[in-house]
């Protein structure tokens, strides 16, 4: 009677829910379930592994390989004509519950179908070994740790897969056999391989050596061994025997002994064997001897191999199960003794980034294997399932578990500090380097070097300027057009002062320049054929151009236009400047010339005919300034020639010039480039001249050319870097203009053959650079 109940109990646990009800109705067949009884009941603690780490994704190169193997129907199931509910196709394993349209599909690295030996897809012991275990063996010889778990319901073919029988040898014997073959192979490369093995089981969270001889037979309980961790020697089981094995035969002998021990211990114990994990552990030490320079060097590599036959996966709902923490398990722990587990699970479940300390000890096995489950190790997991309908629930739960198996890998993440500070520093440095790159190159004191850079930077700027020049020209044309549309209402008022509105395109003219850019170029004075008198504004004056102001003489000057040639003749005592120079004798005006009358009347002279005809090469330098024929330039020029230098005013003028340039850049970017080619010739000519001068001076043409090439490359680079618009960019562009102004200055002076001034400017720039360099870490 009692025995019968035990069988019933066995059945009850192997199934759940509706299946057990079905059994109830057919209780007379309880004899049939004797077999089930023998293979029921197991402890399951792989679940604990899932707590080691979560969320690791698998992939081609993943450290975990997961496989499923479906066993054949056993004799009892065949007798019962049990229905097969599992099918396999490629990597996919599908479960079809009976009386249901629903299907459950799972994809794994391998899905082994070992149901029917006649089937073409049949996966033999060898197939399983080769697909799953051999890759691990290869890794062992590369120095990795390797770990293989077999997981599944008792009776689902776990032990068969791991150990096998006789000629149907399983993974463990095959693995051992090959490890020695491989060891013999590597011997030829002067590598000696030394293998130690241990065999133990974990039952009820106690670890027992399976290879100790029964010296302590009198002892009723075997002493449980403790796992300890040594910083140098790693985790170890204190007191666990480890034997050096030299051949496969050695291993076999030890395995036999171990399995015997296991069987003996299990006798009389309720399903102890299926409730315990057995671990077959090997340490492979490879020592490579090398002789280099007569010295003998040895290089040692040690790999750990753990082949683990886990306890049966069934009865995962059993509360007594030690170390069980299956994530998907919904069962309730009955005893308040397990409150700790519940709280631990709760503390671990939070989504917080914080890492709390959970005093709960992982299961012994988990703890022992934690390092071989992460880092430099390769892990394979084989889940075995039964195809029979009667095992449906358990099969599904095994498959679901295996699906999560990748998450068992131990990922102790490296946490880094925030990089924000470094990022900030680097950004600053990049800015500095960029600025450095843009400004004239080199902080060198050597004359050669600096001169060289002078040329290079000039050339670079020339290119930049060409573009702006085109834009400036366009700007000027636009201004002309704008002037044409000037308001007619103001015309009458101004006509009195001979200010023209109707612009005759062919006639030369003077256009006003004003400090306020909005007032600049608003007044147009046409210089008609013949004479135009310029003088103080007075009622009824006959003067063509009437001006006001203290410094305007009654009769200030005379402008004559003879067939397009415009000549300015200043009156005595009337301050008149052309291009910054005080004139006392008649001068011929050219397009773009600045005319300043009495210090506060600024004009720019335009000569449309001259523009249309194009200019001769010799007029180049003049044309160069054309773009800057604005008030600031003119004023600057004036100050420049009058006084040697008034620093503040220059600065102001420059700043405003920069603003102007920005506007020009924005408005006239993609318009006509007609003048460009002529300009380029002009400039290149000029540069060539400069180069020649330099070459002559320094007789170092060769180096010059090579650096020039390099420079072109960087120039290109520099331009690319300029394309990002930002607040900083704006500052940069001001800086650029600033440099540009300086370059122009330099150029002009050069043309005037004033080398002394060139050097002076350079020295002042070097000062600047030095101070820039001092600010940062750039040496």
């Amino acid at each position: 009677m009692k025995k019968d109940r035990l069988e019933v109990l066995g059945y009850e646990t192997a199934t759940t829910g509706f299946l057990s009800v079905a059994y109830k109705k057919d209780s007379s067949t309880s004899e049939d379930f004797l077999e089930v009884d023998q293979e029921h009941q197991a402890r399951f603690s792989l679940g604990a592994l899932s707590n080691l780490a979560k969320g690791r994704q698998g992939g081609e190169d993943s450290a975990v390989t997961v496989a499923i193997r479906v066993r054949p129907l056993n004799s009892r199931e065949q007798k019962m004509k049990a229905k097969t509910v599992v099918s396999v196709s490629g990597q996919e394993t599908t479960v079809h519950p009976p009386h249901s349209q629903q299907k459950f599909s799972f994809s794994f690295d391998f899905s082994f179908w070992s149901c029917d030996a006649q089937d073409g897809c049949y996966a033999s012991q060898e197939t399983v070994y080769e697909s799953l275990a051999r890759p691990l063996l290869d890794k062992v010889f590369q120095g990795y740790n390797a770990c293989l778990f077999a997981y599944g319901q008792t009776g689902s073919g776990k032990s068969y897969t791991m150990m096998g029988y006789n000629e149907d040898a399983g993974i463990i014997p095959r693995f051992c056999e090959e490890i020695f073959l491989k060891a013999a192979e590597v011997k030829e490369d002067n590598v000696t391989c030394h293998i130690e093995m241990s065999y133990f089981e974990v039952y009820n969270e106690k670890l027992h050596d399976l290879l100790t001889s029964d010296k302590e037979k009198n002892k009723t309980k075997k002493t449980a061994l403790r796992i300890r961790e040594h910083p140098e020697l790693g985790p170890y089981v204190a007191g666990l025997s480890a034997y050096v094995v030299g051949s496969f035969a050695d291993v076999q002998a030890w395995l036999e002994l171990g399995n015997k021990q296991r069987a003996t211990a299990a006798t009389g114990m309720n399903d102890k064997s299926s409730r315990s994990h057995s671990v077959f552990a090997m340490v492979a030490t490879q020592t490579k001897r090398e002789t280099s320079d007569g010295e003998s060097l040895t290089h040692t590599m040690r790999s750990h191999v753990n082949l683990v036959d886990l306890a049966g996966s069934e009865r995962s709902s059993s509360a007594q199960t030690s170390g069980m923490r299956l994530k998907e398990g919904a069962s309730i722990n009955r005893s308040l003794m397990t409150l700790g587990k519940v709280i631990s699970a709760l503390s671990e479940a939070t989504q917080s980034k914080k890492k709390p300390f959970i005093p709960y000890r992982d299961s012994l096995l988990t703890w022992l294997l934690k390092e071989s489950l992460g880092g430099n190790s390769k892990t394979a997991m084989l889940a075995t399932v039964s195809p029979a309908a009667v095992n449906l629930e358990e099969t599904l739960s095994t498959l679901r578990y295996a699906k999560q198996a990748r998450s068992i890998i131990n990922v102790a993440k490296v946490n880094e500090d925030s990089n924000t500070r470094i990022i900030r520093e680097l950004k600053a440095e990049i800015e500095k380097l960029r600025a450095f790159q843009r400004c004239s190159q080199g902080t060198d004191l050597m004359k050669f070097d600096s001169s060289l850079h002078e040329i290079l930077s000039l050339k670079q700027k020339l290119l930049e300027q060409e573009k702006k020049l085109t834009e400036a020209q366009q700007e000027w044309k636009e201004n002309l057009a704008r002037a044409e549309q000037c308001k007619l209402e103001e015309a009458r008022e101004l006509q009195k002062a001979s200010v023209s509105f109707k612009v005759d395109n062919r006639l030369p003219n003077l256009v006003n320049l004003n400090e306020d850019p909005q007032l600049s170029e608003m007044l147009l004075y046409i210089i008609k054929e013949g004479q135009t008198k310029v003088g103080r504004h007075m009622v009824d004056s006959e003067y063509g151009i009437q001006l006001t102001g203290a410094l305007i003489a009654d009769s200030h000057c005379l402008i004559t236009n003879e067939q397009g040639t415009v000549t300015l003749t200043p009156a005595a005592d009337a301050e008149t400047y052309v291009n910054g120079d005080l004139v006392s004798e008649p001068v011929t005006l050219h397009h773009g010339d600045r005319v300043i009358l009495g210090r506060d009347h600024y004009f720019r002279f335009n000569h449309p005919v001259e523009v249309q005809n194009g200019r001769r090469a010799s007029e180049g330098p003049v044309a160069c300034k054309e773009m800057l024929q604005d008030f600031e330039f003119a004023k600057n020029e004036l100050v420049e020639s009058q006084k040697q230098r008034i620093e503040a005013e220059i600065e102001e003028a420059r700043l405003q010039a920069q603003q102007e340039m920005m506007q020009e850049l924005q408005t006239a970017r993609d318009l006509a480039q007609r003048e460009l080619s002529a300009q380029r010739c002009l400039y290149e000519e000029q540069i060539r001249e400069l180069q020649r001068e330099m070459e002559d001076e320094l007789s170092m043409k060769q180096e010059l050319l090579s650096k020039e090439m390099e420079q072109k490359r960087h120039k290109h680079l520099g331009k690319l870097l300029l394309t990002e618009p930002s607040a900083q960019e704006l500052e940069e562009s001001q800086l650029r203009h600033h440099r540009f102004m300086e370059a122009l200055q330099l150029e002009k002076e050069k043309l005037a053959q004033e080398m002394a001034q060139v050097q002076q400017a350079r020295l002042s720039r070097e000062e600047e650079r030095k101070s820039a360099a001092r600010q940062g870490t750039v040496p």
Partner: protein
């Protein structure tokens, strides 16, 4: 209705008591190869009682055996018939049968026959539902629901379980509100009048049953991912264990400490501290730690010592996490976008704290407080030893730091490096993290630097001694942290040097030494990623991808920060730097999916890789011209 004679009744009572003894006491001694022997014997007795009761139960004479389910259904049809008082004769006889059904249900579930167990438990519930709740039967109402709840949860039907358990909770609350007298225990139905329990015992048993209800609900909510609720129910379960003196001090203390970790992850420091203070007080109730000498004498003493020391050390570790997270959370609130103390935030927080203090007091009253007559005061005084509010300046942070540091020392006494390598290192890592957190609040660069030096002193020796073959992941963490700490020190030294007029030679040497040390540890970390044949992998694993790229990036930066007047060395350093920036760029070109992990680093590396060649060239040109 036939009635039992008093002698017959006495026999039944004896049988019942025997079954209880078998099930609860003798079953523990059952041999492993027959684990349920006593349970089966108890079941037999219960069945006998049930059939006796059936014989005398008048119209309930129909068989109550295996057909219980049909029987129960029949009963269901007549359910509306009456809601008789539970203390009526019919109520009494139903309750007696209910108790037996309940015991049978428990017996079947305990022997893993769930379906049968469900039947019996449902029989009990259906029987009882026809009667009003009374002082006699309330306990049976609750206990039967507890059992059926557990059963359904075991089948994964969490919502069903939740329904039964929540109804048990509601029944308890209603009873306590409306009646509240210590109720009868179900076992008392089969007890002679003179054996009946005292009120005190009744209360104890009844409250215990309800404690289980709450505990099971905690698990139900956990499974339903209602973590806040689960936390509260765990907390209440712990409190009830303490209140009704139903706990083992060691386990209780560790559980409370573990619960504190849950609160810490949710930044509930007041609750966390309360749990920890209670843990520290209750662990003291577990008795004295046996001396080393005593442990040597006997194995039980040795085991007791081991266990006590371990648990105490674990509680200490929970305290460390408390202190560390409290300072770090404060740091996060106070730091500006480059990780430095934001004085405005600091001032603002101080003002806000003053305003919030009153509300905090109110909040405290809503927390479930641990305590029994002999522990409440000690818990309170334990709590006072450390603040639970965010530290806002150095002094406040330092007070918390010191508490944490004490626990570090306590934990290290048990978790020694030899034997507990991983635990020991984790404690040291926390210690280092405490220093790092404190350094944030220190505005004196020199003193800050000294704190980081302490970190180096504790981390570097371990890092050197640890065998990466067995502790690869923790080794990597250490290498990275040491590298970062050297970096931090170098930064600080430079900041200090910047304030001085001139750089002294030994300062430069010091800075360069720190720079090189940082590089060295980043390189060690990168070496650990290499394959056994010493090659850097073409494709990095996801978990090390970012750290590896960041290490390369930082080395690049470090090389450009070496101070030297020697142009050749300068060129060499910049070339190295360039090489590392290029590595980052090249790696991301080869592995496009790496880009999103290191976006900013990549962007900067790209720029540096394009700008540095120019700088190198200039340096070279300068060098040639000098020569």
């Amino acid at each position: 209705m036939a009635s039992l004679t008093s002698s017959e009744w006495r026999v039944l009572c004896e049988k019942y008591q025997r079954s209880v003894t078998l099930s609860e006491i003798e079953s523990k001694k059952d041999p492993e190869n027959d684990p349920f022997r006593s349970k089966y014997n108890a079941r037999e007795l219960l069945k006998q009682i049930k059939s006796s009761l059936g014989q005398y139960a008048g119209e309930n004479e129909t068989e109550q055996g295996e057909n219980g389910q049909q029987q129960a259904e029949k009963e269901l049809q007549v359910e509306q018939q009456i809601a008789t008082g539970g203390d009526s004769p019919a109520g009494l006889s139903a309750a007696r049968l209910g108790v037996i059904e309940y015991q049978l249900g428990v017996n079947h579930t305990e022997t893993e026959e769930l379906s049968a167990g469900e039947e019996h438990l449902m029989n009990c519930i259906r029987l009882m539902d026809k009667y009003e709740v009374t002082q006699e039967n309330i306990s049976l109402f609750i206990q039967s629901r507890n059992q059926i709840g557990v059963l359904w949860a075991g089948r994964g039907e969490i919502e069903t379980a939740q329904g039964f358990l929540e109804s048990a909770e509601a029944l308890y609350n209603r009873y306590m509100k409306e009646d509240g007298k210590p109720p009868m225990d179900p076992n008392e139905y089969f007890m002679a009048e003179e054996d009946k329990l005292t009120e005190q015992d009744r209360t104890k048993r009844f409250e215990k049953a309800y404690t289980y209800t709450l505990y099971y609900l905690a698990q139900v909510y956990k499974n339903l991912e209602q973590n806040d609720k689960a936390g509260l129910y765990c907390h209440t379960t712990l409190q009830r264990q303490l209140e009704f003196n139903n706990f083992a001090p060691l386990e209780w203390a560790v559980n409370a400490a573990t619960l504190s970790q849950y609160y810490i992850t949710k930044s509930c420091y007041m609750e966390g501290r309360h749990c920890l203070a209670a843990a520290s007080v209750v662990v003291g109730l577990a008795g004295e730690v046996p001396s080393v000498a005593a442990a040597k004498e006997s194995e039980t003493e040795s085991e007791k010592r081991e266990k006590l020391c371990q648990r105490k050390a674990e509680i200490a570790r929970c305290w460390i996490k408390y202190c560390l997270n409290l300072i770090n959370d404060a740091k996060k609130m106070l730091e500006d976008n480059i990780g430095e103390l934001d004085a405005d935030r600091q001032a603002e927080m101080k003002v806000r704290r003053r305003q919030e203090e009153e509300e905090k007091e109110k909040g405290r009253k809503t927390v479930v407080l641990f305590g029994s007559s002999d522990t409440s005061d000690s818990i309170l005084s334990m709590e006072e030893k450390v603040s639970c509010t965010y530290p806002l300046d150095f002094n406040e942070a330092r007070a918390i730091f010191l508490v944490g540091q004490n626990y570090v020392n306590e934990a290290k006494e048990y978790f020694q490096i030899d034997g507990h390598a991983t635990d020991h290192i984790e404690v040291v890592q926390d210690h280092s993290a405490l220093f790092k957190a404190l350094a944030f609040f220190e505005d004196d660069y020199e003193r800050c630097c000294k704190m980081h030096k302490r970190r180096i002193d504790m981390l570097e020796p371990i890092c050197k001694d640890l065998n990466p073959q067995y502790y690869l992941l923790i080794s990597r963490q250490l290498q990275f942290e040491v590298a970062e700490t050297y970096y931090e020190m170098m930064d600080l030294k430079i900041a200090v040097a910047d304030k001085q007029e001139e750089l002294e030679a030994h300062t430069i040497r010091k800075i360069n030494h720190l720079t090189m040390s940082s590089i060295k540890y980043y390189e060690l970390f990168l070496d650990s990623l290499k394959t056994p044949d010493k090659k850097f992998p073409d494709k990095l694993e996801e978990d090390v991808l970012r750290p590896a790229i960041v290490a390369k990036f930082r080395i690049a930066r470090l090389y450009s920060r070496i101070i030297t007047a020697d142009s050749n060395k300068q060129i060499e350093n910049i070339s190295q730097s360039l090489e590392y920036y290029r590595f980052v760029v090249d790696y991301c070109t080869r592995n496009q999916d790496a880009k999103k992990a290191v976006e900013t680093e990549l962007e900067l590396s790209e720029e540096m890789a394009s700008l540095l060649p120019l700088r190198l060239e200039r340096l070279r040109a300068k060098l040639t011209s000098v020569n």
